[in-house]
Subunit: 363 residues, 2 copies
């Protein structure tokens, strides 16, 4: 195991300073991405307890060696059963009110904790924690940038190899392999390769359908580098385009450009969604843009904030978000164009590498 | 989208018959694997509401076309915000007590549902639902068998290509690509390729470490075929083995064989764990076997039941479980041997394909 650099101690410090504001004396984390963010531990299961005078990382036997190597400065507690481990650690250190991630803890766990530790109060935290990882530091942005670069390089290579008769599934497997060979730890999410009518499904699985001239081809892909994700979508036409394909593409592209133009620190996330959506609506495709305009990206491929009509969030410098408007015409095809950007004081920087101009790919 | 066969209607019928036993009038499902099991919908997000006179699948705009194609016989309800959708559907159909998956619903969702639907009661169900998918039908077993066959064929091909100087990461990427090209929809979980001292970490990430003669090499891998997972682990020695490597391998192999020998319908899961563990303990490696002996496999790669000392479950014919004892010697190396089996009335059938005899791989 070659542990990466441990996370900056400032992250834990910032959290501890907030405890009085939230009226809690301690915090229990179960979200593995939050735990990684605060401790450096990269395992798939565990828990983290932060009290006024302790910081305990709880893991099962599979992870004990790794946890000690990765989470310097944390006490590591081994459990057989996670609930027993939580009860052991919290009954040893706990007093007063313990805050926890309302979006992560299940009803089963909450119920069991309350039953087994009746002298303590457990307080669900929601807004308090949702933005914990939203603003990225330079190190994090560098990792996301590298993830985007690996993904783009793999994508360009796969595009060169595209031939009629290849199936969506083969293209996806080829791209995933190229991403992994290019230095990614894994792909960000199951790669979407959707051609023809499948491209009208925003989250299609790759099928055994073969690609052919005249197809719209949407590929939504990403790489993970040192835990950080990228997310990018390219839509092309294969061989030849009809007028409607080009027109809808240009509508989506303009929506994408307008949203990116609107991004800067201090702007409401819902205003970014509106910048894309109002354009698409004005062009008569409002009902065909069936999802939000974007989302935060980091240790999770979907994280705070959402760029959507219902979002209450405001952009801050250092947030990394996708901009991905789409128009989907069931039975025909769809277009989605997605770039990843980092919010800056006066605008944003695009981290994605593939140009998004309308493009016919010869196959 | 080429939908697979819809799930047998008997699954929904069986659930509905239980409602009075559980003192609930309706059920709300949020676990996507349970939703797939009951409806056939394969999307990544949604909800399912089953009332006495309705069955409603709730999805967002990305999935509306796909949900209608896959979930025949279900009303499909589109939401912008999932919570708003739940409130719409439940306030239209709901009365009395609504059971839900305590292991899946978060505290945030439960709190919001109770606030927004104050006239209704929401009852967490736990043991009632945990075994929902545990007993597989023939169709499901056939899919798992196919997943195991695809994974094994890919594994054998990758083993042929193994050369000194390859990194763990390259081997993992090669195996994943071969699994995908072999017809799998995806890999079951991030493939583990752990060599030398890394193999002492039961859940190591593949590193840039190159493999070399004398290494212990553990590869834990699986394929997903039509939603169903396989899970298998092989440990080899590369080039040459020392006496301790062979001895520990044989200890783990005997534990594995004893556990498989003990499997049949009607036996307690903890007895299977004990069959493996007591042997390893007797050989002096008890403290080095730091995890349970196995787990159920199906639409999830980890599901009910667990084969562990704390398990209360009893094996039934049709359950598909892993048997995967291991011994880990921190700083040196580790051995894990894992097969996937289907429980039968008088024993079990092994679905994994790779022989588990001690083997030195020439590289």
């Amino acid at each position: 195991m070659q542990p990466e650099q441990p996370p900056p101690a400032g992250r834990l410090q910032r959290i501890r300073e907030r405890l009085p504001l939230w009226s809690v004396q301690a915090l229990l984390f179960l979200d593995m991405k939050n735990i990684r963010y605060l401790t450096g531990f990269t395992g798939s299961d565990g828990a983290l307890y932060i009290g006024p005078d302790c910081r305990v990382l709880l893991v099962d036997g599979r992870y004990i060696t790794q946890a000690r190597a990765e989470a310097g400065g944390f006490e590591v507690h081994q459990y057989q059963s996670k609930m027993d481990g939580l009860v052991d650690v919290i009954s040893r250190h706990g007093r007063g009110v313990i805050g926890f991630e309302a979006e992560t803890m299940t009803v089963a766990t909450w119920t069991a904790l309350k039953e087994r530790l009746p002298g303590l109060a457990f307080l669900p935290l929601r807004q308090e924690l949702e933005a914990l990882r939203a603003v990225k530091d330079e190190e994090e942005i560098a990792r996301i940038r590298e993830a985007a670069a690996i993904a783009a390089q793999a994508f360009s290579a796969v595009l060169e190899r595209l031939r009629p008769g290849m199936t969506e599934r083969e293209i996806a497997a080829d791209l995933d392999y190229a991403i992994r060979r290019g230095g990614a730890q894994e792909v960000s999410f199951p790669t979407i390769v959707a051609s023809g009518a499948n491209s009208a499904l925003p989250h299609a699985w790759p099928q055994d359908r073969t690609v052919r001239p005249g197809d719209m081809l949407t590929i939504d892909f990403g790489a993970v580098f040192e835990g950080y994700h990228s997310d990018e979508t390219c839509t092309f036409v294969l061989g030849r385009a009809d007028a409607k394909q080009e027109r809808v593409y240009q509508v989506v592209k303009e929506a994408h450009d307008r949203a990116i133009e609107a991004i800067r620190a201090g702007v409401a996330c819902r205003a970014i969604d509106s910048a894309a959506r109002s354009w698409i609506e004005g062009q008569g495709f409002g009902e065909s843009f069936t999802h939000g305009t974007g989302h935060g990206v980091g240790l999770d491929v979907h994280e705070y904030p959402r760029l959507a009509a219902q979002s209450e969030a405001v952009l801050e410098a250092g947030m990394v978000v996708t901009v991905e408007p789409g128009v989907y015409l069931p039975g025909l095809w769809g277009v989605r164009i997605e770039d990843l950007v980092v919010v800056q004081k006066d605008g944003c920087a695009v981290l994605s590498k593939i140009p998004k101009e309308f493009r016919i790919i010869e196959i």
